[in-house]
């Protein structure tokens, strides 16, 4: 199987997030970056599929040179080759188009993304990619089985699950469930060593325009202090008169 995993490079979940003075971009000083956690579930699924069916795993990222350590880590975990499309991932449609241009010029049996990236949580790229490629897309995918050229994929829907069957290729937006947290792999030292010699190819971007521009990012207001109340009556009174919430 020729497996593709789209990887985004995002701030560590515990990073303290700040924006630059103009509020237009993330201030990355002191921020550690990691493989987007949703993508990590997809990458691990790809490893399982490769182990079961054979084949090769390519990891693909749209980003600048600063994302290469993240791709190297994916190689150390077990991907066979990495491709970086050299562009600033400004918005979802630009990223989706870059991915599409590469994918449609190659042959992949399965395209695994994460349900969303935990930086901007847009939840758009995988769906756009499915549409641009004219391929079926299963979002919030929590189970996936492959049998020859057909696939069964289960996605979360409001209040339940839906299971689809169809033929490959397929685009999937994965999340926990596709594999479990305990299945996620820490790169081992031999993997880190072998990652040195695995190919990491840099391709020039083909799209020049971005569709949207960020005008301003604002952090949520800090939490105000907690007030302890002794009775329900007092709570109702405060909610009504002070907070004016009811």
């Amino acid at each position: 199987m020729n497996l593709l995993v789209c990887i985004s490079h995002v701030p560590d979940t515990t990073a303290k997030i700040n924006f630059d003075a103009a509020g237009k971009a993330l201030d990355a000083t002191g921020v550690q970056f990691v493989i987007n956690p949703y993508d990590e579930f997809s990458l691990t699924k790809a490893l399982h599929l490769k182990e079961a069916h054979g084949g090769s795993i390519t990891v693909l990222n749209v980003g600048g040179p600063e994302t290469e350590p993240t791709l190297r880590k994916a190689l150390a975990i077990g991907a066979d080759q990495a491709i970086r499309i050299n562009a600033t991932p400004t918005d979802a449609i630009t990223v989706a188009k870059e991915l599409k241009n590469h994918i449609s010029a190659n042959t992949y049996d399965l395209i695994l993304c994460g349900q969303e990236s935990i930086d901007y949580n847009g939840q758009q790229v995988p769906a756009m990619l499915g549409a641009l490629l004219n391929l079926p897309f299963v979002n919030a995918c929590v189970d996936l089985t492959i049998d020859g050229s057909s696939a069964n994929a289960t996605g979360e829907i409001d209040g339940g699950h839906a299971t689809y069957s169809g033929s490959l290729p397929l685009v999937v937006g994965g999340k926990k469930g596709l594999v479990e947290e305990k299945d996620l792999r820490i790169p081992n030292m031999r993997g880190i060593m072998t990652a040195r010699s695995k190919p990491l190819q840099v391709l020039e971007a083909s799209e020049s325009d971005t569709a949207t521009q960020a005008i301003k990012f604002v952090k949520p207001a800090g939490k105000s202090s907690v007030k302890l109340v002794d009775s329900v009556d007092e709570l109702v009174h405060l909610l009504h008169n002070e907070a004016k919430a009811i």
């Binding site: 550690q32 350590p69 150390a76 820490i186 030292m189 993997g191 880190i192």
Partner: protein
Amino acid sequence: MDAFHHPDYYQLDDLLSEEHKMVRDATRDWIKRSVSPIIEDYAQRAAFPDHLVKEMGEIGLFGPYISEEYGGAGLDHMSYGLMMQEVERGDSGVRSTCSVQSSLVMFPIYAYGSEAQKRKFLPKLATGEFLGSFGLTEPNFGSNPGGMTTNFKEDGDDVILNGAKMWISNAPFCDVAVVWAKNESGRIKGIIVERGMEGFTTPETHNKWSLRASATGELVFDNVRVPKSNILPGRDGLGAPLSCLDSARFGIAWGALGAAMDCYDTALRYSKERIQFGKPIAGFQLQQKKLAEMITEITKAQLLTYRLGQLKNEGKATTGQISMAKRNNVEIALKIAREARQMLGGMGITGDFSIMRHMMNLESVVTYEGTHDIHLLITGLDITGENAFV
């Protein structure tokens, strides 16, 4: 709680390669997943978490600088140091298991073993299928190992080994032991003794207050018949075991730094949250003095290990330089552990925090691999040319 971010006051991370950082972070992730959640319990029960041995092999903590041909990862010494730092942030006992396996068992076989010995033992030691131990210290010869009495006599294709080694890490669980013993002419040789050889026993040393999650024991040889093909052919004399100690002490210099970082991190967080007299104790000058001195010492120790790592990679690190780093870093780690423990007040003595465990562990680390005094004598000899050992 936030994830651990190691102290990096002088931006030493900028000097590390992406690969070094990946090695460090992978080790850190493994410690967080497999060691931190269980280690306090094992230490309290004085039990050896032997299930970790295979995991350590899988993640690649054994013999990372040994070539891939023999099961290693072919990484550099800086990587090995960073791994030891992270492992000891978890626990000095677990780090001891790694140090012994990598530097004291795999290293001598790799450096002084025959091709057949390397092929037979190294791959299994690398995966953790085999656990190794290193027998140098004897009941009557600790700081003075050259006086050892463990000895062997030739008998056809075999040798007959007699004697006893004491204070041996991993001994009770080991599958193989690299044992240093004298031949009939009094020359020290390394011999690989295998579990199951008749007359070879490994009684455990109990009632330790330190390194409780590491198994320590004796290696007892009562007319043990060992094939001559198990003798390390590449080097003999006291210099052979001492060269292994150089490799292990290098790892310990990094390891102790890890323990110090963990104690500092705990004390810093705690002091910002613990309120007394209406404000966080971090706001009191006496506590700030402790914290400021800790970060200063950690930073100096980081600079020492970083430079030592460079020298080791270039094949230039001397015994004297390694001794200095081992001695300094263990000393500062112990002091930091003691100060950090006080900063936590009563909480500091409980197993809810790692500090007291680190502090007690470091009492072994300051003694093994050359006592604190002995390292001073090594430096003294190095700078004056005068031997003050005897």
